[in-house]
Amino acid sequence: MKKFLREILLYLTCLYVAGTFIIYILLKTAPERFLGYYSDFVMWDFQKKVIASPEKIGRNIIIGDSRAMADINPAIMGHSFTNLAIAGASTYEGYLTLKKILQSKKIDTLIVSYGAYHYTVSDNFHDMSLPYNFPTITQLSDLESVENKFGITIDNTPPSTLRILNRRFIYYHIPINNFRATFVRNLFQRKIDPYTASMSANSGHVLFGKKDSSNELSQEIVQTASTKSFSKNPVLILYLDSTIKLAKKNHICVLMVPPPLNYATYKALEKTQYLTEYNSFLSSFKNQGPAVSLIYLCPYLPASFFGDRSHLNARGSNYFSNLLKKELEKSNDLRK
């Protein structure tokens, strides 16, 4: 027994140390390859660099998730608009984006656009935001204080010391309990960067869905399979409120622009508790004072406007952006 224990411990220790060391070195030398999907990393890295260079940013910014990236085209909105939404981001990253920019730049208008799903969970926090070091370590600690206060994390799990420790491992790229999946997967992955050229040319706008039409049901439907209600994550809502407060404090006009669903998803959600509660949540922005406006252009669009289950295609994006521009011009909120 002692011989077995000795040998197995030695073997596993050597295997683990060697593996950890190799993965750590590779993560440090080629993060774009091993920290996540190559296309994710380059996209987040690009946005981080843009946010860090405020001279490249217009006076009107868009924050949100990938739906905002796809749906709102600054080229149509006007040259003063920059789309700083990031695929996979939640209201937490949106808040950090605004906070960072305001350190060195004045903003006139803030368009906030998240899919309903991203008010309920940040499912990419550990896969993208953390390993790509989007928040600073201090900001991460602040987030954890908020999570402890609410008793729930940003990705809807109970807060615990183990999770905090795991987050530090992810943040510092220590592959103790993480990165093996991305590492192994990315060993066989070719480098793909389909987004940064478009982001650079179109001020952050990207088309994800390439189909001519999509009636596939979106994440909201998957979510309603397990929960009937629109269960807002209190941490994410706090950061949304903080974003609005920060904007108000800096005399920024806040426009809440919910992205449209495809028709099939909308029909599936119609008359459900989920949609009723979501609409009620959106309506609450009408009562937040003159500096905050809800611009609910359309709850849904036809399938032919969608390139995949969640994102508008070129036709849809042009239509939606034009619609938004007209609405802003009507309400004289457009800042040139």
Binding site: F4, G88, H118, V184, F188, Q219
Partner: protein
């Protein structure tokens, strides 16, 4: 709790050390620890469904005594009670919504309206496995192959032994119970073999299966946008994914059991080296196929009651075997496809051609004939996997149609833009 999880990495060493250093003084202590660990292992997923597991265990334990009665009527009654109980649990949790939906469709077809009540309940993990453990126990008692276990603890360990609980192998009472009822002594070679199996299983599951799954998911989800080569490669990749996933899990289960001094039934024996479908089914998910053979095929008459009955029995077994995998017509079709390939071999008495031979026996490489046989068998199995993998029949046909039409579309294996998160 999954085998490839951080929790299991902590759980297993603790159980191992307690088992061999603290609880090894007495057999009953060893079994008590295994039972507690098994309930903890299962309860980690859901404490509510743990109650179902305990209830199922208790009922089959009691039914065992009834089945062992010398009164044939009473024995048969308790046997049927056990069958109804186990299949009832399975039916409610796994198949109720399927049948309710099919009834609704059936009524719609004849112009009548039927509004079934669908139950919103999660499928209890391992239900297909522990119910079969219970059934095999009462069947063996009924056939006189064994006597009922007196100790509830021993029986509970047999049903709930945690390495087997989630994904098998499906053990037999006559194989596992004697081991449960004997004190286990630490064996160095067995422990080393167990550790090796666990590591190998983890490698197959985590490195190969999980890596393949992303690209396989992409290809199967968006098959309309891939060319024939990508689709064929995707199907082959799925063949390896499902093998590595399932056999990896089995290896971890068998390896874990070895660490605790148990020898479990082998579940996979290089199935993709099979030279025909009959051999494939002797090498793939061995514990399940032998279970169906012993408890369904043979009681139905096997192949001993004429060709017509044989055909019927083969179809019943394969269709039910397919249905066991999931409540979906695709699984039934998958079983049916295999039945169609197996039947000719059985009817021509060629199904046992390769029972006593192995590929490349006394050679370094297989012969050309063996290679061709393996390739054909693998090709057929891969074709059938398409039905297993797809969510519905029309998509399965669409996938195959696309391969056959050999349409050239943009997008190649592994290079299609990922379906981005919101």
């Amino acid at each position: 709790m999954l085998f490839n999880s951080f929790e299991f990495l902590v759980f297993l060493p603790i159980v191992f050390l307690l088992y061999w250093f603290v609880f090894n003084k007495k057999l009953s202590w060893q079994n008590l620890l295994i039972l507690a660990a098994s309930y903890f292992f299962y309860g980690w997923w859901s404490w509510k469904f743990l109650l179902l597991l305990i209830l199922s265990t208790l009922l089959d334990y009691l039914y065992g005594f009834g089945v062992a009665s010398e009164n044939k009527k009473k024995s048969k009654l308790f046997l049927w009670l056990s069958i109804i109980n186990n299949l009832g649990i399975l039916g409610i949790f796994k198949y109720y919504n399927f049948f309710a939906a099919e009834f609704e469709h059936g009524f719609d077809l004849v112009g009548m309206h039927f509004d079934p009540v669908f139950i919103q309940v999660a499928l209890p993990v391992g239900i297909s496995f522990y119910t079969f453990h219970g059934l095999s126990y009462v069947f063996d008692i009924y056939r006189g192959l064994r006597k009922p276990v007196i100790s509830l603890l021993d029986y509970a360990v047999f049903v709930c032994f945690f390495p087997l609980l989630v994904a098998g192998p499906i053990e037999r009472a006559n194989h596992l119970l004697p081991q449960v009822q004997s004190k286990r002594k630490f064996n160095y070679a067995q422990a080393v073999e167990g550790s090796r199996l666990i590591l190998w299983g983890m490698f197959k599951k985590v490195v190969i299966a999980d890596s393949l799954s992303k690209n396989v998911d992409e290809i199967f989800k968006n098959y309309q946008h891939h060319n024939a080569i990508s689709l064929i490669v995707g199907a082959i990749a799925f063949s390896f994914q499902i093998y590595c996933d399932f056999s990896g899990y089995s290896d971890i289960a068998i390896g874990t059991a070895k660490l605790l001094g148990f020898e479990l039934l082998s579940n996979f024996n290089f199935p993709y080296f099979s030279r025909d479908i009959a051999e494939f089914w002797r090498r793939w998910h061995i514990s399940l196929t032998s279970w169906f053979r012993d408890y369904l095929y043979i009681p139905l008459g096997g192949s001993k009651k004429g060709k017509l009955i044989t055909v019927r029995n083969v179809f019943i077994v394969f269709l039910i075997s397919g249905f066991w995998h999931g409540a979906n017509w695709n699984f039934i079709v998958w079983g049916g496809i295999h039945a169609c390939a197996f039947l000719p071999l059985l009817l021509l008495n060629k199904n046992r051609k390769h029972v006593n031979t192995i590929v490349a026996a006394e050679r370094n490489l297989p012969t050309i004939k063996e290679l061709a046989q393996m390739i054909i068998t693998f090709g057929f199995v891969t074709f059938a996997w398409i039905f297993f993998r797809m969510h519905n029949f029309s998509d399965s046909l669409g996938y195959i149609k696309r391969i056959m039409l050999n349409c050239i579309q943009p997008g190649q294996f592994g290079l299609s833009p990922r379906d981005m998160p919101v």
